[in-house]
Assembly symmetry: C2
Homo-oligomer: 598 residues x 2
């Protein structure tokens, strides 16, 4: 096997041919920033090649690198597949311990709530009958024991390992088990649930699983599920909770199996989720979240026994639920804001999580304002005539040129539909080539010459005009599809502008715009700007941060201080209800207008 | 109905004819000391009659009152049954709020852990979507909510009542429910379990139930039950726990029904019990308590959710288990020591709880020493040839005179056996009249003249001599019975003396000797001293304190400060293992000798 020498550490690793350089490095636990998850979109995964041969850069890579960088041997690690011995230099300072893959993560020190301490239990004698519990408490002053640690436990002497959560003894194990300490970071989205197994001693990610949220049987969106609760007062809450809990338990089995770890060694589970999912996970009725004025039952972070809601891990394992701000600014957004360290920003930073709901947080000179806007599911590929999720066979990028329509299909298969990033790209292109006007309507066919390369791209279906994305696969983009994107655009942009207005700052005052969320990571800057979701003025300031909810859960798992700071952050975030702001309707309709091209 | 005017308050109460004056007063919640539970034994229930007629005092009463007291109108309230209008004066200072019947109780201020606070939940609006939880937390800063309070609870607005346990919100109720706040004080003895329903707003005892400990199916004594655990590793601990929990649940039903209170309003249950019972109640294996060196798994007080062990009360109700000191100095003794305020004694006070195990605590100038001695069940009427529990038909007192043998039978029935206080009285009488010698043997028949009134009281059965308690009922006291009492006496007295020796104080330095426990209350001073269980020198210093374990549980229920002080007290009590002290065997055999009479 060829090997790779990594500077500045000088460490040498063997690697298998066939993987990208980014994959090779991440698998060795070497941190390389990769907000777009190695898709060649973000341009952040730069490394400098010191020695060794690589194929010449292609267009995508050239576009993302400056001339000067290329001359200095800089490459995008996600776009190169090394085959021979190599020496490289990392361009970011390596952050200690931070090996979670798949997203931006700020520097932080490990300071787990979970700790293991070995104590020696003396065999009692007639002269010293000190109880089992007191022998532990004498060796760990300030600790207190949960009853569960003593139940079904006889007096054993010799070495025992005490598992602490803060000052609370949550479990006692015979012998020295300090080498086993695992946790799970969970991100519950309305659509997908993701679980990551973490070695809590090193902070390393050991295994990863994701699945469709099993609540889909009760409705695809949050509101339908809340309606299910309302209509099934006897057991709706319980059924929705069970669906989530069972999914997580299944994934815990899976990741434990992958990493060959017993789930008895999992002592903490940290969860990021939107506010409704959090209510449902904990078995708290979410009905008030489903109707105006959208008041949650709770928003604070929760720290309970994992088994209280039926999660299967160590007997005494804890569950930490990240704090939310309001019904529509959930713990996923607090996690994101924290991961981006918005509370520490001295300038003006805007954070956007794009999904069915767009959540926006503005950090302006230390003040935090947030809002949520109903973008609809178009940007996730739903509610679109040929829409589909981002899976194999989905068109994820489109280019219209004089010679025709080009697509990029996930898995390089024949296209079977179009996903969120694809539909956004189409709209951007339609605007660019002038097939769609800024009010959102297709141009009339009679405005085009038959000789125009665009003429055969449109067709009329009764009174409705449609864009023929693929004749062969009968993939069309309808006027309705454009309207869906337009509504999403209006919702997000109006939230964006309303926050700026509320904070009294101008567009040019913005220092950074951070794009977060599972879906956001797949929406390239030119599409976002080209469709006007994000104003052109901030294009240069876009930063992608990946799945920051999962990262937030990971950080909470690895640090008690992070938990405290997140709670603090959640309290500082002022929520602004868009529907209740002055002139919002007018702002929204102005924001529906697509940007002028040329 | 006639009425009774009580000075110094001047309050007037109607009463039903047929009850003793003590019963009338206690039912009205007026505290009158009654350590012997109104049996005419302790002489503590004195009141002064100011106006009205009562029957002349009989012998029992005359014996317990001084001439001077009788001249001043003092009577024992448990021995008089008033029939007409009466005016009386209480002789003890009335202690505010302290209305628990059946035992001595020191003055203490109410300071319950449980509190109810009414808060107003605002209907949310688009401008103010504050969560249900946060609305509560804003009105009760420092509080934190248990998840259980939010589960199955929709967002309700209007008045809600928050039930706090310290700073923890354990339950939330719609409307204003501050008038309902109940608790249960439980005393779990090896033989009987006692539950008392307490109105936690007033501290009043509302109802009372007791039953035989359902664990009797697993063995009559603690050791047999521990053996059951050992022999049934799969479910022994669980079965023993269930037996206790079910008994308590049954009694909770019963007392709630008596007082017409819903068990949903019971927010705290406080339990006093010996160390083994406490382990078994909490489902903690007690096996280490059953074999030398008798080390408990835990001794600290425990504060958990009542439902964690299956107790039925309010959803969020708490269970407080009083702290123990060691395997054989349980929470019942800590409660007793606390009720007697041993930790505050400036002089030398000895506390004895007499039962199958005799537990002794010596408070000497602020230092607390304790020990436990295996007295055997004789003083509870068990292991005695004609023995029985103190129930109807049991001989509870015996006098031998020249004209024959007199007995007092519980319920004034024909005697069917003899209970603990009876057997002790017999032995005292046999010693007094010289039928038993101080080494514990019956005198030889040939030492008596046929004309001696005692001659026909003894008979020979083969080589064994027996005392004929009742010819008609064939009740005999055998040499073996005497030996049982002698063993109990040797055990208790040796513990008593060993503690004095360890503390370096003399008998005459003792200021008080307190007799506690369910059984102790029924053992009159002359029997205790006449048999030598208690040295004659301290006869004048005897004080009866009743069931102090139940009283301790009551006090813990009514005051967080009491709980803290009890934990502190338990830590201060130094346990001395008699078997491990020097020359104990010799001391024990010396203590077997009965006292010299005349
Ligand atoms: S990770 Fe390589 S370009 Fe984003
Ligand atoms: S209560 Fe009356 S003598 Fe004891």
């Amino acid at each position: 096997m060829p090997n790779i020498k990594v500077q500045p550490s000088g460490n040498i690793y063997e690697y298998e041919v066939g993987k990208t350089l980014l994959e090779v490095l991440l698998e060795e636990g070497i941190f390389v920033d990769n907000p777009c998850n190695g898709k060649g979109l973000c341009g952040k995964c730069k490394v400098r090649i010191l020695e060794g041969e690589l194929s010449e850069p292609e267009d995508t890579e050239r576009k993302l690198l400056k001339q000067e960088e290329m001359e200095n041997g800089v490459r995008l690690s996600c776009l190169v597949k090394p085959e021979t011995d190599l020496e490289i230099e990392l361009m970011q300072k390596e952050r200690k311990h931070q090996v979670l893959t798949g997203g931006y993560i700020p520097s932080f020190a490990f300071d787990q709530d979970i700790q293991k301490i070995v104590v020696e239990i003396q065999k009692p004698t007639l002269e010293d009958q000190t109880s089992f519990e007191d022998q532990i408490l004498r060796q760990i002053p300030k600790a207190s024991l949960e009853l569960g640690c003593l139940q079904m436990r006889e007096f054993v002497s010799g070495q025992v390992t005490v598992v602490l959560h803060g000052n609370q003894v949550i479990q006692i194990e015979e012998g020295n088990t300090t080498e086993k300490m695992y946790g799970v970071a969970v991100d519950i989205g309305t659509t997908t649930v993701v679980c990551t197994l973490i070695d809590m001693l090193t902070g390393k990610e050991l295994a990863h699983a994701s699945m469709i949220n099993a609540q889909k049987h009760f409705g695809l969106d949050v509101l339908t599920r809340i309606t299910y609760e309302l209509e099934h007062p006897e057991d709706g809450v319980e059924k929705l909770q069970k669906a989530l809990v069972n999914s997580i338990n299944e994934m815990i089995e899976d990741i434990c199996c992958q990493a060959e770890v017993s789930k008895e060694w999992i002592y903490e589970i940290a969860v990021g989720a939107n506010c409704t999912m959090m209510h449902m996970l904990l078995g708290v009725p979410a009905t008030s979240l489903g109707r105006s004025p959208y008041a949650p039952v709770f928003v604070c972070g929760k720290d309970i026994k994992a088994k209280e809601i039926g999660l299967c891990a160590a007997e005494g394992a804890r569950l930490y639920c990240l704090p939310s701000v309001s019904a529509y600014i959930g713990a996923d957004i607090v996690a994101g804001a924290y991961v981006c360290q918005l509370q520490k920003e001295s300038g003006n930073v805007l954070f956007i999580d794009i999904g069915t709901n767009g959540e926006i947080v503005l950090s302006s000179h230390g003040r935090l304002l947030c809002c949520s806007c109903a973008a609809g599911p178009a940007l996730e590929g739903m509610n679109i005539s040929s829409g589909m999720r981002a899976a194999e066979g989905a068109i994820e990028d489109v280019t219209i040129t004089e010679s025709g329509i080009e697509w990029k299909v996930i898995g390089n298969e024949k296209p079977i539909g179009i996903c969120g990033s694809g539909i956004l790209a189409v709209v951007k292109e339609l605007l660019r080539v002038g097939l769609v006007r800024k009010e959102g309507a297709f141009i009339k066919l009679n405005k085009l010459e038959e000789s125009d390369y665009r003429f055969h791209m449109l067709q009329e279906n009764g009174k409705k005009r449609e864009f023929i994305l693929s004749e062969e696969q009968k993939l069309l983009i309808t006027q309705g599809d454009i309207r869906q994107v337009q509504l999403a655009k209006g919702a997000i942009l109006s939230g964006f502008l309303a926050l700026l207005k509320k904070a009294g700052i101008q567009m040019e005052d913005l220092d950074k715009v951070m794009i977060a969320g599972q879906f956001g990571a797949h929406l390239p800057a030119d599409s976002l700007v080209g469709t006007g979701i994000i104003p052109k003025e901030v294009q240069e300031k876009l930063v992608y941060v990946g799945n920051s909810s999962k990262t937030g859960a990971y950080m909470a798992l690895m640090s008690a201080k992070v938990k405290r700071e997140m709670e603090e952050l959640a309290r500082q975030m002022d929520y602004m209800e868009l529907g209740a702001t002055e002139n919002y309707e007018r702002l929204f309709s102005e924001c529906l207008i697509f940007p002028n091209v040329k």
